[in-house]
Amino acid sequence: MQRRKRSPKPSLIILLFVALLAGCTPLAKDTGDSQEYEPVSESEFLMGTVVKLTIFDEAEEAEALFRKAFERIAEIEEKMTINDEHEKSEITRLNQEAGKGFVKLSPETFYVLEKGKYYSEISNGKYDITIGPLVKLWNIGSDEARVPGKTEIENTLSLVNYQNLLLDKEKMSARLAVPGMIVDLGSIAKGYAADETAKILKEAGIKHAIVNLGGNILVLNERPDGTPWRIGLQDPFTARGDYMGIVKLEDESLVTSGTYERYFEDGGKRYHHILNPETGYPEENSLLSVSIITKNSIDADGLSTATFLLGLEKGMQFIEGLPDTEAIFITSDKKVYVTSGISKEKFEITKEEYQLVQSGVVP
């Protein structure tokens, strides 16, 4: 009797397990296999930095697409660089004609220049697209970097003023009013190049990709599994590639301006590359880095420098006043401030020593 009663039990339990497993299997496949995508990636040195493109779709002509994108970036660099032997740079020509007449530009160079002037205006000159003479004077990032003399800086400062950059949209031309002025698109052209790269990838039918221009990130849509991209935020205190938090992105750009990016040391003092157009020296405030999230990379690029120069308090107000724009500030005492649009899901700190200060609040 007892035996008979028990005998159905094992098979019942086993059957239940099998049923359970059968139910589980497709689920496990969905989450498991879709993460085993095999992205293809290619890097090249362009615009004075490393450009890394990663495609997560199955793309047969990935190689040709990479080449096309790199060629496009090289073309933008050629048009907009000021470090050139390239005679083709429109910006070099504009700078050479400083104090003389208007110079005709291609629509895209005009567009980037116009954006640069716009960000100079809305930041009240804290960011200045005509910073070129100062950049050349300091030469940070090159072998010849040095601390300039006081008089040198004073003499150079008078050349930095975006209001003396005159734009004529109808004639698609620009003019620098004072001889010796230099426009430098270094703080914004990479953003434009990222946007143009994204355009090429999208036109080729690519749905999931990451464009990385020297640490400026632009993502296409979301990950192939439908979840947001997870982008690390560089820890300003540690080695390159080491992150302190993760930002989730979907069809957005994330650009960081930090003091650790480029600098040199002299007499035990560190001089970083974000120059204040009013003082002529590297900006010294409580910030170590500012990261901006926008739809287009050109905006995130220009705004990251502008916001860094505005400092924590004014920078926070500045970004809160702009639509569809968010920011993450890291200060030298390892506090992290975020704008009101950044939720806990959007940005998570992964290193304990960093402390998140309530959104949108600055002491």
Binding site: R3, C24, S43, R230, G232, Q234, G241, I246
Partner: protein, 131 residues
């Protein structure tokens, strides 16, 4: 209690089901995981200079590279790690990056146009990094 023939069949089916789902993935991970096959790729100005399989059994290997205009970079690999020991560049970002050993990690020396990256199955928590 004894198992009937039917029960035995179900057990066998269950084992097969288990193996093909969890076991299969486990075996796959064993063979595909970054720990099993990691390769460091050294690129100079876009050209691949060397590819080095990174294994725990590797002995220390020094790769001194003389570049144009008197520039140089000295790369060292030991066990499954690779790093830049010395470089002629002014800021030494590459040296400061330290040792790398995980697929997806990279060391970049901009002045010397040198990239070292580790290829292999990606096993990191992030897709890329904003610098």
């Amino acid at each position: 209690m004894r198992l009937k023939k039917g029960d035995l069949l179900i057990v066998v089916l269950l084992v097969i089901a288990l193996l093909s789902t969890f076991g299969g993935r486990y075996v796959k991970e064993m063979f595909l995981s970054g720990r099993m096959d990691k390769t460091a790729v050294i690129k100079i100005d876009g050209e691949i200079y060397a590819t080095i399989p990174l294994k725990r059994s590797n002995e220390r290997q020094e790769i001194p590279l003389s570049l144009s205009d008197g520039h140089y970079i000295r790369i060292v690999t030991e066990k499954d790690k690779i790093w830049v020991e010395e470089s002629s560049c002014p800021d030494e970002v590459c040296v400061l990056t330290g040792k790398i050993d995980a697929p997806g990690e990279s060391i970049v020396c901009l002045p010397n146009k040198t990239i070292i990256l580790i290829e292999g199955t990606k096993k990191t928590d992030i897709d890329d990094i904003s610098i």
